[in-house]
Symmetry: C2
Subunit: 138 residues, 2 copies
DNA sequence: ATCTTCCTGCAACCCGGTTGCAAATGCAGA
DNA sequence: TCTGCATTTGCAACCGGGTTGCAGGAAGAT
């Protein structure tokens, strides 16, 4: 994602462009897997933890990223792929208990669940735990 | 759950019975919803946080409870209902963003997912977020 | 240039979870 | 019953992710 794509992304989501935000957005887009705050801290040495955190929070509020809680103890962030303001690109994630990485199973949509009367669903968090192909081969 | 049921439960799961463990097991069985460590701390004033924690860890290792990460920042515990040693009573949970309670949607089983070749699934965590009937009525 | 607002870094804090350690308890064998 | 060992427990301290208060700095408006 180059500078221009970034700005257009921000504009679509109503986020003002700043140098830090561009750096964070690029780091997110480069990641092949959902990343945690601490991973971003390591990757982006130029920005303070709190800055990254606030940027992520802002992105989250503007539906630019979505949040996955894989049960590893730290939350992970992933760029939304849907272009409209809503997270309709929810998919299942897989957390490997051996290498502790989280994978997007992008192909698999979250199954539709018919909830009991009265419940109103706004988002879903569906994480499978187990062993990834790479680790189970060993 | 009375004392005797407790002991039999422990025996089935290979857990030695101690006073503390009985107290924790009873607290879990009395809860209508999955409970967090801090909730148990409030409920069980006679046992130290670390004791409750260790008891829960032990229960988890012996498949006496299962763990739900509802994304609220603290993990919740729930007595397993299946009597064999394995967690085959997985079901969906609902986290209300207003009252911050977690509900078991016991009726709804976790849908079977066919994962890509190579992935080996050991457990699932499926949590819906939204507003519960009680809160949406207001 | 000045004012105001927003953005940022720093340091401190909060809280859930976890561990080391030593005292207490339980249990087996003499 | 006494002794020695293993397990359980409480206490205090720690850890790490997440979060916030504050003050300095940049950006935009008047």
């Amino acid at each position: 994602m180059d500078r221009q794509e970034c700005d257009s992304l921000f504009q679509r989501h109503g986020v003002k462009s700043t140098p830090n935000r561009i750096i964070v957005a690029e780091a997110l887009s480069e990641a092949s897997q959902p990343v945690s705050l601490s991973e971003l801290e390591e990757k982006i040495v130029s920005i303070d933890k709190s800055g990254i955190f606030r940027t992520l929070s802002l992105f989250k509020d503007h539906h630019l990223v979505h949040v996955i809680d894989d049960g590893s103890g730290s939350v992970r962030y992933e760029l939304c792929h849907s272009e409209d303001g809503h997270d309709d690109d929810q998919h299942i994630h897989f957390y490997c208990e051996v290498c502790r990485r989280t994978f997007c199973l992008s192909e698999i949509p979250v199954p539709e669940i018919s909830v009991p009367q009265g419940y109103e669903v706004t988002s879903t968090n569906f994480v499978l735990h187990g062993i990834c192909p790479e680790c189970s081969r060993k």
